[in-house]
Symmetry: C2
Subunit: 361 residues, 2 copies
Amino acid sequence: MPPVSMKASVFKGPKKIQYSNVPTPKLQSPKDAIIQVKATALCGTELHMYRGDVVPKSNGYITGHEFNGTVVAIGDQVTSFKVGDEVISTFTSQCGECWACIDGLSSSCVDSKVFGTWALDGGQAEYVRIPYADNVLYPLPKNIDRFTALLMCDIFPTGWLCVNNYLKKIQFNKEKLKTDVILQLGVGPVGLCCIAAAKEIGVQNLYVVDSVESRLQEAEKLGAIPINLNNEKDIPQLIKDKTNGKGADAIFELVGNSSALKLGFDTVRSAGFISSIGYHHEPLPFDGLQCYLKNISLQFGRCPVRSIFDESFKTFQKVAYKFDGFIDVKLPLSQVSKAYEIFDQHKARKIAFLIDDKLYL
Amino acid sequence: MPPVSMKASVFKGPKKIQYSNVPTPKLQSPKDAIIQVKATALCGTELHMYRGDVVPKSNGYITGHEFNGTVVAIGDQVTSFKVGDEVISTFTSQCGECWACIDGLSSSCVDSKVFGTWALDGGQAEYVRIPYADNVLYPLPKNIDRFTALLMCDIFPTGWLCVNNYLKKIQFNKEKLKTDVILQLGVGPVGLCCIAAAKEIGVQNLYVVDSVESRLQEAEKLGAIPINLNNEKDIPQLIKDKTNGKGADAIFELVGNSSALKLGFDTVRSAGFISSIGYHHEPLPFDGLQCYLKNISLQFGRCPVRSIFDESFKTFQKVAYKFDGFIDVKLPLSQVSKAYEIFDQHKARKIAFLIDDKLYL
């Protein structure tokens, strides 16, 4: 039986992440499970709230949507898991029964919630409650270490989705991936996952933009062609020069702000495609006439990790070795406040937490 | 040999369409042809300039982008047509040789121009010059009268495209067309073409919105379910009620203004699709966060009639009989100013002009 109280990272407001003593979660529904967390990480999306760009409906929730651990309690209706199972969670909960879940659009689930938000306590804690456990948990992958496996909660499927959106758009014509020129905006952790997925799926000409040199070096190792935003004044023209004046066939947009989307719009060719998985919080930097005249197609939104888990995991298994040591900073959860600060300042590529100062392997 | 001067409809500014004497066009390039116009029509897109919503770079051009007639002169490099051929034109010119033309994206042709704009004189005239004639003209279809055939210049392929964009989005899964609920915004001439194409292709549940009752009656005859914007206060809720709270699977947006796009955005379900072929000239009525949270996909833009002519024509041949009498007003070209006025006031469904007061059949 879990103890009555536990340690957790609590969001108290922008730049205020507090390591706190809170009540241990209990089963609330027969479909719930309780997980003892053994590894958890910090995701770039959480910085939107940390920085105050996105304001939660309320404060006081437990942060974190990337975690894995051991099942310590299950409700009566949980059939796929039992106490003692080692599991990994998707970064959202989803019911598995609504039209969206059935249709392969789990991020549109009518009762979907994101862990580590005002709507659902997260996993930067000793324990976490999992609603709809049968539809949220997966067995922890074997042969992949617990920390690398955290990438499957959110960022690898999300990066993979960004590529797959384009593959769908071109009717799965993989021959086009060999000749098309793609510009990716953002080379944070999701961006690196996106590059690994893109190269594995068959993208040949992948330019990537960021302003952090160390990220660009990682990107180059994965096979992308790096462009430093600070050094290159006219990226649309640079890509035009590489494409006989045509522009990029597609944009992978992973930053989630207006200026990135503008750069993408300006760089994509006529009748091109923008696959945007960034978490936006600003106006769109183009109007109706520009969209019409550019014959543009755009796809936005949150990754339905549940719906694409199995397919993206096939790619992940092939490239997981490239992510050995990807989590470059591991801190005890008690240092969570400092971890957000470091991550916000791009001083770490990816941060994971040790729970109770223990390193579970 | 054509005479030195001819009669034509000239755009002099918003609400100023002038029947004028102008020089007859001449061959300017070995790829040009000159057509003696025998039927020409007025398209809804032209009302954007007429109303002043879209301001041309300069005035004084000959209007009209829907026309057919007889070849009276060809340049040395025109190989597919000869003097005396009866031909129909796409509403744009395109070179046929650039990456976009080769890639099936003729509306993105690097030298594409729209007839009847400041960039290229149009066909509401006795004669019209056709650049890249081999890539712009088609033999006038047999077994379809000259006036009904005008629909193939622009509006039928454009309506067809709106449907085909969705078919591509769902990976040509025609089974989905039977169960999906689609909301179409706008039932002008393109809208009626879109309905006819949608029903022929297999859309079962097609709701259509307009404020003009006579248009809605036509829509209903073609198999759509009409919704009068003036009578229905909450269309998103109406469609939710019809779909167990889900919303429309797709939106066909043919109006080209911000309020239509807003209505579409509010009515489409999560992870839905907006196929927009309206000619927009306003800001987009949604922001980045709304797009992200809705997991929306959007496709905008001008129809590549040249690239889809053959495919859309297959559908047109099956439904052309439904468009007998579709052009409900035929006027001599000398009445062009009055024709724009009538059309602007929705007093005609579709207007065609008789050249020289002659009715060519």
